[in-house]
């Protein structure tokens, strides 16, 4: 009897299981199909519900704390490496004899670069997310001072006499000159947009600062980026060189004799339809060579090859004999070894009128590239030992320092920094994000158009076959996880769709990611990309008087004359906190004649200050222009009653906005604004 009962219970359970399983599976299939926009994605609940979880316990289990080495300096005697560990906010001191980490020194937030003083007694580390420099006494391996800088400090140089530390401020787009005797900022010089790289000429007379973003130019005109030249004696800007049709000039180096300076760069073809990628030559990568002396020519040479590209050139160093240059190709996991003498020969032989054309020549690299050396994942900063025999490579996503024997051009055993050995799903996603291997002929990585996981400030003719139709302004990927749908037209309901089927069809023109890789890159984009703190406009989480007044305007329901503003024309209706987007499509009267007739997805406004140009096609160079030039009909919010002061307050408030995290952590209490 007991057995009969048990059997009945068992059968009932099985029946129940079947009832649950089949309709449940059908529902799950339907759900996954919708989310991924394909019909064969495995029904793995973990893909979305674990890897992209926001639960702190879950994230602590599935993630690891990697060092992510970013830049390196080497001591004079070659016995020590000073490694910037960007993700752990540390400077690691590495013994090159034992290949072991001797000290881990906590510095500021998100450190970027390190430089040593002449005597090798002090190290200066730029902390990009805390707007300061950590001064480290190398005798005791401790931070002994902190120097305030501009916004987003990155590249560093020390003046020839050792008196000044010159700090490139990436987010502020300027250069702080720090008097090292007082440790005070002496002045700030304007540079190009989003600069990082800097180099001082061997005679100390000339300082270059490279920019990464182009100046804002109307769609249809070729991009142009700024190379800032500063007089090393007067510490004044002596020239803003226009570098045409190139951007992402990450780093720059002089030859020891000072006859050339060389910088990394990318030449994007954003004016042609992006389907061109299958024809090659969509994004090209190379170097800019700045001839010193009387000629002063600046030429661009591609380091790519006709059917193989070496994306995202990052750092460049020149050997002590001035004969070789080494370029890290972050998106190709390679170091490109260049013959500088061959470049000198090209400069000598090529007539002036041909120098411009040579910039698009994919074959010219065969004349000066000596070798492509495979490295670990995502090589970033490079440093040569003083004798030039060893090249150290910060393999950011390998958590190792690659070591290249420059005589044999063979990689030696890397220096393991002791990070986690496990590659998490998100880490794999980050590697994919930064690697061009999945794009046709490896032309570009996600990172190429989304440097720092943000956006490159360019407007692209995305996916269209018609030249100049439906052009779109690149959008930031920072903290977009909870802001579906995606694309300006809102057609992609999930990142799975955006990076899966659509990605391969439109952007990479290759086979789409494997589903495991798609899980990984989705997990990374959805949860792994954070906003830098908004230290320029909201450093303490407390709004200024002007921002408070702006917030009142943002949340107002009546205009200056007491008339009720229709609900759909109030700022907060479409851009409600904490995401500052209602995730719906809207018509804000910005449709261009070259656009298909669509509504536009409402973008979030987090860190909006860092994303010029504005509107879907980038027509507004500044936030002001959204309303002063393109808001005449009051359809993009009711604003035409505002005085200039009120508009300034509103924009000041908009610039203060960060992501949801800032909104949650903000301790500011809404005060009554005084007009």
């Amino acid at each position: 009897m007991k057995n009969a009962k048990r059997k009945t219970l068992l059968w009932m359970l099985i029946l129940f299981g079947f009832i649950i399983y089949f309709p449940g599976r059908m529902l799950a299939r339907h759900h996954v199909n919708y989310k991924t926009a394909v019909t064969d994605h495995p029904l793995k609940c973990t893909s979305c519900h674990v890897y992209t979880s926001k639960n702190k316990f879950v994230t602590s289990l599935i993630n690891e704390d990697y060092y992510s080495p970013f830049n390196i300096a080497v001591s004079h005697d070659g016995s020590r490496l000073y490694v910037v560990a960007q993700d752990t906010d540390e400077l690691l001191i590495v013994d090159t004899e034992s290949n072991s980490v001797l000290h881990q020194i906590k510095v500021g937030v998100h450190p970027h670069s390190v430089i040593l003083n002449k005597a090798n007694t002090l190290a200066y580390v730029s902390n990009q997310w805390s707007d300061n420099i950590s001064v480290i006494d190398l005798a005791v391996s401790k931070v002994t001072d902190t120097i305030k800088t501009g916004n987003g400090p990155s590249g560093l140089t020390i003046s020839a006499d050792g008196s000044y530390l010159q700090v490139v401020n990436t987010y502020g787009s300027d250069l702080s000159v720090i008097d090292l005797s007082t440790k005070e900022e002496l002045k700030r010089l304007r540079t190009g947009s989003d600069p990082t790289g800097t180099a001082l000429s061997p005679d100390g007379e000339r300082l270059y600062v490279t920019s990464r973003r182009s100046k804002i130019v109307p769609y249809g005109e070729p991009l142009v980026s700024d190379l800032t030249e500063i007089n090393g004696t007067t510490l004044r800007v002596s020239e803003h060189h226009n570098i045409e049709e190139a951007y992402m000039m990450e780093n720059i180096a002089f030859t020891p004799s000072g006859d050339l300076a060389m910088m990394t760069l990318i030449r994007p073809k954003n004016l042609i339809p992006s389907v061109q990628v299958e024809g090659g030559w969509m994004m090209t990568h190379g170097i800019g060579v700045i001839e010193q002396g009387a000629n002063g020519r600046i030429i661009q040479l591609l380091t790519d090859e006709p059917n193989s590209y070496y994306s995202d050139p990052f750092d460049i160093v020149v050997s002590p004999d001035g004969k070789r240059a080494y370029v890290s190709n972050s998106g190709a996991d390679r170091v490109t070894v260049i013959s500088v003498d061959s470049i000198r020969a090209i400069l000598k032989e090529t007539p002036k009128e041909k120098l411009k054309n040579i910039a698009n020549n994919l074959g010219v690299s065969s004349r000066f590239v000596i070798k492509r050396v495979p490295t670990g994942a995502n090589p970033k900063g490079l440093a040569l030992s003083e004798d030039g025999k060893k090249l150290y490579i910060a393999e950011q996503l390998e958590d190792k320092i690659g070591v290249l024997d420059t005589e044999s051009l063979q990689m030696e055993a890397p220096i393991d920094l002791g990070g986690p050995s496990r590659i998490t799903v998100a880490r794999q996603g980050r590697r994919l994000f930064n690697n061009a291997g999945h794009t046709f002929q490896k032309q570009y990585a996600c990172y190429t158009c989304h440097p720092d996981h943000h956006e490159d400030g360019l407007v692209y003719n995305m996916a269209g076959k018609d030249m100049g139709r439906n052009v779109t302004n690149t959008q930031s990927l920072r903290e977009i996880g909870d802001t579906p749908p995606f694309k300006w037209n809102g057609k992609n309901q999930t990142i799975y769709k955006q990076d899966g089927m659509r990605f391969s069809t439109v952007l990479t023109r290759t086979e789409q990611f494997s589903y495991d890789d798609l899980d990984a890159i989705t997990a990374y984009i959805k949860r792994g990309i954070k906003y830098p703190p908004n230290l320029m406009y909201n450093p303490h989480g407390k709004l200024t008087e002007s921002q408070l007044r702006g917030k009142e305007i943002y949340n107002r329901t009546k205009d200056n004359f007491g008339n009720v503003i229709p609900e759909n024309n109030r700022c907060y209706t479409c851009h409600p906190a904490p995401l500052y987007s209602n995730l719906k499509a809207a018509d804000v009267s910005t449709l261009a004649v070259t656009d298909d007739s669509i509504l536009f997805d409402t973008p979030h406004l987090g860190n909006i200050y860092a994303s010029p140009p504005y509107l879907h096609d980038g027509r507004a160079a500044t936030l002001e222009e959204i309303w002063t030039v393109y808001g005449e009909d009051n359809k993009h919010g009711f604003v035409n009653d505002l005085t200039k002061m009120q508009l300034n307050d509103l924009i000041d408030y908009l610039k203060s906005l960060g992501g949801p995290e800032q909104e949650e952590n903000s301790t500011q209490i809404q005060e009554t604004a005084s007009f």
Partner: protein
Amino acid sequence: MKIHLKYPTLLVLFVMLVISSWGFVQPKERTESIKDTSKTYGDKNRTASEKPMPIYGNWISYDSKNGLPGDKAYCVKIDGDRVLVGTHEGLAVLENGNWKTYTTEDGLAHNGILAIDVDPLTGDVWLGTMGGLSRWSTGKFENYTQMNSGMPNDLIYAVTCDGKDVWVATGGGAGCYNTYTRKWEIFTEENAPMHEPWTYGVCASNDKIYIAAWGGGIIEYTKKTKKFRDYVDPDGNMEIDLFPDDGVVHDITTGASWSNGILWVATYFGLSRYDGVHWKGYFDHDSGLASNFINYIKAKDDIAFICTDQGLSTTDGENWITYTTNENSKNGKTILLNGADKKELATSPSLAHNFTIGVDVEGDRIWVATSKGVSRGQLMK
């Protein structure tokens, strides 16, 4: 005993007024950056009469015939070895003996340039034009307008660089641009004690900004506290100075310049000098001032250079030198006034025109912008 007063409330108010007024006249409350130097100058042991006024001569003029893009010069600035002249037709630059003109075709915001200042730290040139503010750095222009930035108004009458800030006086209020944060602050009658937003001049001292506001006298802005106060004509908007030396001579101010602890204020009805405690007024009928109609003022060390519609006057507060020209012959006069002692020297040639609009002085050179060109004078020994 009860004291009965006829107007007790008035008495209380009067007493309170007296008591509260003490606070304003206590020496400790005085503006520390402005010294009482009404009688002494730079070197405190010497009086004005002991320190000779600089006399300029050997005038050379330039107009559309010999270098400028047009005759009307609004402003001039000496920048090291070069001279920048703002004209109605663009920016004219004299460098190595050659003039070169920059216009909107080169990227300038507007050809009519009304004001020029140079950032002493960065060397950037800031140009206030009739159509926006241009930053000129290494030959390239970057323009700020009321449409693309938070700048108050495109009509810019004055520009002053002050550390990381660039101040402008515009037709729509004064503006302060923080070159570090790229943010504009606007000051108008809505948030400052101005009569209306029209501002004509702006200058900086160590700790204050002075704005010449049309109809509003002088607006003083303390950088540290971000507070304003105004100095208006105690006589109201009367065209005569009813009570001498009681304040700024008129509310319609056209410029201000600060140097060595003295604030000089230009109006269309005379000149004012303020040492932080005392105001002193100067008029064409009681001083060596060429005319009460003052277009522009520039103070350098202890001397004020005053551009009027009747010539250029210079003064240290006691002594005067005025430069005028015969507009037909180009010969002119240099008139020296020391107390009651007046001398006239013939000058040939003299200034390009009597309607002087801008001036700058550096070392032994003076440059004067006039409505008929720009003139360069040399310090006479």
